[in-house]
Symmetry: C2
Subunit: 229 residues, 2 copies
């Protein structure tokens, strides 16, 4: 393990550490990220930290202001919605392209994962549920031969990372619906349905979660959408 981390450059190490801390909530939104302090803590100079922070900025996890510093990006409702909406399109696209390449074995694995999810419904552990959920989703997009598109899916997941843990906490009811939708999507894939049909199913599946969340707010999804920015 040490040998493994050794061939990781320090800036990559810093990236991982800070990324993980943002994701797991150690660094809450709005937290200032002082380069020097982080560097000292990780036993390195500011230079690698700086590079790590800029990469995190490119991924939207931190905001950066010249001569002022970096802080963990705030997660307002807008950003949550925007990220989910974007991922719904991108993930759908990846599923579309991947559809012809999804093997029967992959579908079988996805079914198995979904069975696990169903088993977890009784007493819901949002974190574990979300992790397995991601594995299932990736089963459908990993076969996508378009590396660029897969990369966008990855970025979307990473952006959501620090929200995901709480997503199913917000709307527990979604978990059950979600499992059923997974099965319907897998039915489509198995039946060799039109790729566009699969795409739209995946898209709708993802959008259902933020919509369910917004349904609990005063205004419904559409109204929210209108006022939004």
């Amino acid at each position: 393990m040490t040998a493994e981390t050794a061939q990781l450059s320090k800036s990559q190490l810093a990236f991982r550490v800070v990324h993980d801390r943002i994701v797991d909530g150690t660094y809450p939104p709005g937290q200032r990220l002082v380069l020097d302090a982080i560097g000292t803590e990780l036993g390195m100079s500011v230079v690698p930290v700086r590079e790590a922070i800029r990469r995190l900025e490119a991924e939207g996890l931190v905001t950066f202001e010249r001569n002022v510093g970096a802080r963990v990006a705030e997660i307002d409702e807008h950003e949550y919605w925007d990220t989910m909406e974007t991922l719904s399109y991108v993930e759908g696209a990846a599923a579309h392209v991947a559809a012809p390449y999804v093997t029967a074995a992959a579908v079988a694995r996805a079914r198995e994962l979904n069975a696990q999810l169903r088993g977890m419904l009784d007493d819901l552990d949002p974190v574990a549920f979300t992790r397995t959920n991601e594995l299932l989703h990736r089963t459908l997009t990993d076969p996508c031969p378009n590396a660029h598109l897969r990369d966008l899916v990855d970025r979307g997941w990473r952006r959501l990372a620090r929200l995901r843990a709480s997503t199913f906490s917000f709307v527990p009811a979604r978990a059950a619906e979600s499992v059923d939708e997974h099965d319907r999507i897998l039915d489509l894939v198995e039946a060799g349905a039109d790729a566009l049909e699969i795409e739209l199913a995946v898209r709708a599946h993802r959008l259902a979660t933020p919509n369910a969340y917004l349904r609990r707010a005063p205004q419904d999804g559409a109204a929210h959408r209108q006022e939004h920015r």
Copy 2:
């Protein structure tokens, strides 16, 4: 102007310079980018250059190998196809979301731009044509209220930047078809067509260009797609 550039950090300056040089072909694909040399030329140290290169890496314009260095990313057929395909989905998505927000004035402006394009068909200047073409496309995606999605569209355009100049050189016939397709898309928008319908039209419009290019190759688009990676 000097005042303007003055408040640009050196790393941002380096980013622009190198970016532009890659786009305009001064740095051809495969060209090595030596940090020290660039820094010296721009009158700065390697540190800002390094940061600029990493940003370019994040955008896919350069590849970076640890302890070896950076070079301008090669543009193989795969990457061209992947980028175009990805942009087709992302741009379609942005158009979908933007549809309700596209004003009559915006459509009018798009019509005007398309008229300009039509006028340019006689003797085709690929660079000018492509620039106006981008303006038209942006008319349809800029009203998209999802900033994240708009950002993905931007990234896609930037990735294509160094290809765009030559796109219509490759397949001059596409220019004429393209103008007609623009009008049909604008018809849909004007008629208040279903957003999904608009999305699919935009998607098909973009995919038509690489397909037209591939049609000139031995294998057709579908066959190419199959073998691809």
